[in-house]
Symmetry: C2
Subunit: 299 residues, 2 copies
């Protein structure tokens, strides 16, 4: 089987597994599937809104191809004019309870007409309220997966996530990070197999990890003020995705399906002018932890 077909078949299958596990984790939400086709390819968008504990869960799969244009070149740091094939899964979970975190996962495979191919992806966590112990557990889970493939993966990809999920204009990281990687060459067949396996393992770990974090927080009581804080943090998430996110830029530039590309948008978000948290509050504590280079793994 050609790589392209193999990847697309596996990723589509994994998407359905992730959705099934997320339905079980939520205990109420049922994914709705939209199959779309456009000139650039096809995709399956799976989403539910208003689950039991999850306000919005979305899992996208697509397999697309086209010609690299100038803006894609900048977004992806690849050469213009070549034909590309891309297939991947991306997912976002916006929980109802502000004490539960937002989670995001993406794996993707790229192939150019020049012959070069690579994988990219990652998993990262955006708590509305940072819980050091949970962030530590989350990072150790990611490290365990990484270490099965290379001892360099976790330290390198953790740093990459810190640098990538960063809102320069706020001097804030998006959350507690996780791992992020791009342009991991799959030109060599052995590298292809290993990276493909790595992205499959990450995808499978994602709903399992999220279920733990959701169950630890879904029944916690919260106030209206804490819900408002969640809306503000979601506002930051919107800023990141529309100002910086490569996947969003690539999707819009490749003339993808807008409703699928912007599926990461939260159900409700807010902005308040110059909001300042109360001194000593959990909100202030969270802001103080939205920094690069925190050694989460030791918490």
């Amino acid at each position: 089987m050609m790589r392209k077909d193999q990847i697309a078949k596996h990723y589509r299958n994994l998407q359905q597994q992730v959705c099934q596990k997320l339905e079980t984790a939520d205990g109420g939400g049922v994914f709705k599937t939209d199959h779309w086709t456009k000139d650039i390819g096809e995709g399956f968008t799976m989403v539910f809104q208003n689950g039991s504990a999850i306000e919005k869960a979305a899992v996208n799969f697509s397999a697309v191809n086209g010609v690299v244009n100038e803006n894609m070149r900048k977004a992806l740091k690849i050469d213009e004019g070549q034909e590309y094939f891309a297939s991947g899964i991306s997912s976002i979970i916006h929980p109802r309870n502000p004490h539960a975190p937002i989670a995001h996962m993406n794996v993707r495979y790229f192939e150019l007409s020049s012959g070069h191919s690579w994988f990219g992806g990652g998993i990262d966590l955006t708590p509305h309220y940072v819980n050091k112990k949970e962030a530590g557990w989350f990072h150790r889970e990611l490290k365990n997966i990484c270490d099965l493939f290379s001892p360099d993966y976790y330290p390198n990809f953790k740093k990459w996530a810190d640098d990538y999920f960063y809102l320069k204009h706020r001097d804030e990281t998006r959350g507690v990070g996780g791992i992020f990687f791009d342009h991991q060459s799959a030109d060599d067949d052995l590298a292809f197999e290993q990276l493909f396996a790595f992205t499959r393992d990450l995808t499978q770990a994602y709903p399992r990890i999220y279920k733990e974090l959701l169950n630890a927080n879904r029944d916690k009581e919260y106030t209206d003020d804490e819900k408002q804080w969640q809306y503000l943090r979601r506002g930051r998430y919107v800023e990141f995705n529309l100002l910086y996110d490569r996947g969003t830029k690539f999707g819009l530039e490749s003339n993808g399906r807008t409703e699928s590309i912007l599926l990461s948008m939260p159900p409700m978000a807010s902005w308040a002018y110059d909001f300042q948290p109360v001194a000593g509050s959990r909100e202030e504590e969270t802001l103080n932890l939205l920094k690069k280079d925190i050694g989460w793994i030791s918490f």
Copy 2:
């Protein structure tokens, strides 16, 4: 007096006049003023949230300078490496009642070390529910101001607004448009005086025009569904400002004050996956009117 000082003094003064008129129009909101200074210059940010009829009113003034970098060059279509001076006023109004429109106004003056200088700006309207009669009145008010300066202004700047306030990824205009202009050369002293007067007239007209539209709609009854629709339309506003808006890009690229640059963000916005309005509804009617090249003036 040097042009820079003259512009900054007038614009700051106009900002205060606009705020006073908006307070009167709202009948409850009181602007809070933040004076900020950074290495690039200074500004006054005036804002109120939770007025009587206005959920958020913001009027920014700034006078900044620096060196044009690559991203500013792209955002503003000017040459890199030169020093610039920029001063302007920008404002946004997010009303509480979904039957009242969002309004936006901006005037700005640019001067480069090369000696070139120009004005830009505009006023545009984003109704959550398009009311043809009101959109027609709004456009005629703008045309009346334009016609005092040049018969070419309204047709040219109306078209410019249609093209600029356009969400390519949605194939939707942001609202019913208005006027937008940029790079109107002020190299010549007579042109400078005329354009400066034009921007002053626009600024002064803005609160007067908005008051009419607010009063026509502020006491209309509305349902929860209509409020939800307003949140969705505000989501589109967020998309425009973060993906396309030149002022936002310039502000972020020039290392401006983030809370002032993102003051246009709505107090609350939402996204719903693949929302489809009911056939024949006012929501559907509005979507059908978010198109370029509508001759609003004749309504």
